[in-house]
Amino acid sequence: MLDIYDLETRHKKYKQKLLIPYIAISASTLVVTASIAFFVLYDFDSKIEHQPQQQLITQESTVKSVPQIEKPTPQNDMAKKDDVLAASQDSAAKNIATPQQTVAKQEPAVKEDIKTTPTEEKAEEKVVLSPSLNFINNIKSQTPPPKEVKKSIQEAQKKQEEVVPVVVQEVKKTSVQPQNKREVVVPAPPTIVEERLEPVSKADNKNSIDIKRKNNDEDDIKDVIKRFNVNHNPALSLFVAKRYYQLGEYEKAYNYALTTNEINNNMEESWIIFSKSLVKMNKKDMAVETLKKYISHSQSSQAKQLLDEIQLGKFK
């Protein structure tokens, strides 16, 4: 007796069994074709191009930590009140240098990775260009005008304190910016950074030098005069005379040169300063007579030369 229903069911299973090898072959063919297409068509260069990015990011993390470690250094230097400007400049210079150095130290490792493929060299070129421009703009915008620095010493000191952190921040930014853009890690050429920082440091240097001279001159002259009043050393009075002559205070220079001459009339420089001061005070004749007297008993060539210059009108 035929059981048609059972027979139909078994037949369906049989047909499904028959399809299995075809499905398996089709699936395997599809997989093989897809894998071949993947290996043939897939651009491995693009994938390799991403690898340096990841490596750069890892490098960034190390670079990132470097400024933080260096951070206390300027603060310690700032604490030294004796030489605030010099210290701040030095510290600023150090801070500028340190990130560059650290970045420079990172460069070889990054370059080694980058050199593996030509596409990575392209990435290197990109790195050089983009970050430095932002850095320059930041430097320019945050650089204080030199006029404000010249107002007073204390203001200048404050400015220096403000400027130094700015420089440090700028340095940090240079190292931090790369995190946002991968190019950042590839350090901007050191020359660029130095050029951008130089204006700040030059302004500071000018201010500091002027202030220092005024301080030094007045303090020094006062100190020297005090010491001269105590020991009447002609060298000290001669020093004071020279200083006042350099400062354009010719009467004081004349007096101290005369005082020196009274203590020791064989000091050639006292005679020279004395004569030059007379000329500056429009007492050219008196200066000529004084030089002639000195030349007569000393035969000083320097005095002779000065005499000729005064007589010829070269020294006024």
Partner: protein, 271 residues
């Protein structure tokens, strides 16, 4: 109620050995002719061998039906395994000698040797399923054939290896051996169509295209018995659909699905 064409077609393929159902195929008919020629020759024994279902029994039946009108020919479809019974049967058929008591080989040999054939043709004994006879019995049959007073046509099927052994065994005794093989695709198509047309099932005979016959040949390997079984089952399914779901047998060709279902049903497909 008039039986359907599918029922008639189904019954054609009932697995029976009937000489009237014998299908004369080109290759088989040539073999048949060569066998007839061999019988006319003074050969002692003729071996007919082949795998099961290759038509040996049908071949013997047809041969017996053909020869019985012209000469003494006896067909033993089932082997007579008892020796005494075998010789008593032969004595009864060949010489009309009835033995109630035991008849051993020596006694029967004396009977055979003392019998004069005269103008009569040598009687022919057709033994089907001869592989069931013992070796001793086969040797005694050979000795009987050596008397030239009786001829034997032995049909047997064995495995390929045993066939070879059997063939060699009989060849040493200068016996004729004829091998029967499975049908080819074209032979199978002729076989099916001839069989159906013989039963006036022309419609179903025309339903067998080359494609469907190829599938049947693939499933049955051209074996006649398996083909008969498959087609019997096939028309059985057709009958079922004709009664219950005629849409499924709407086509003018034999459905591949139903062929496969038949193969599953007959065990030709393991599903």
């Amino acid at each position: 109620m008039k039986p359907s064409i599918y029922e008639n077609s189904r019954d054609v393929f009932l697995d029976t050995v009937n000489a009237n159902d014998y299908i004369q195929l080109e290759r088989v008919s040539s073999i048949y002719q060569s066998l007839k020629n061999s019988i006319e020759k003074p050969l002692k024994m003729i071996l007919l061998y082949g795998k099961p279902g290759t038509g040996k029994s049908m071949f013997l039946s047809k041969l017996h039906q053909t020869l019985i009108s012209t000469q003494k020919a006896y067909l033993y479809k089932t082997p007579i395994l008892d020796e005494s019974e075998f010789f008593k049967t032969l004595a009864q058929d060949l010489y009309n000698m009835k033995y109630d008591s035991e008849l051993n080989f020596t006694q029967f040999m004396k009977v055979v040797e003392n019998t004069e054939l005269g103008e009569m043709a040598t009687p022919l004994i057709l033994l089907d399923e001869a592989q069931l006879y013992s070796t001793t019995m086969m040797e005694k049959i050979r000795l009987l054939s050596d008397t030239r007073k009786v001829k034997f046509v032995i049909a047997l099927h064995k495995t390929e290896k045993e066939d070879l052994i059997a063939k060699e065994h009989f060849q040493t005794r200068i016996w004729e051996s004829i091998k029967l093989d499975n049908a080819s695709t074209s032979e199978l198509k002729i076989y099916i169509q001839k069989k159906l047309m013989k039963a006036n099932c022309l419609d179903t005979a025309n339903m067998f295209t080359q494609k469907s016959v190829n599938l049947i040949h693939k499933l049955t390997n051209g074996n006649y018995r398996n083909t008969n079984k498959l087609l019997y089952s096939l028309f059985d399914i057709y009958m079922h659909y004709e009664e219950n779901n005629p849409i499924k047998i709407k086509g003018s060709e034999i459905s591949t699905t139903i062929i496969e279902m038949s193969a599953i049903h007959t065990g030709l497909i393991n599903a």
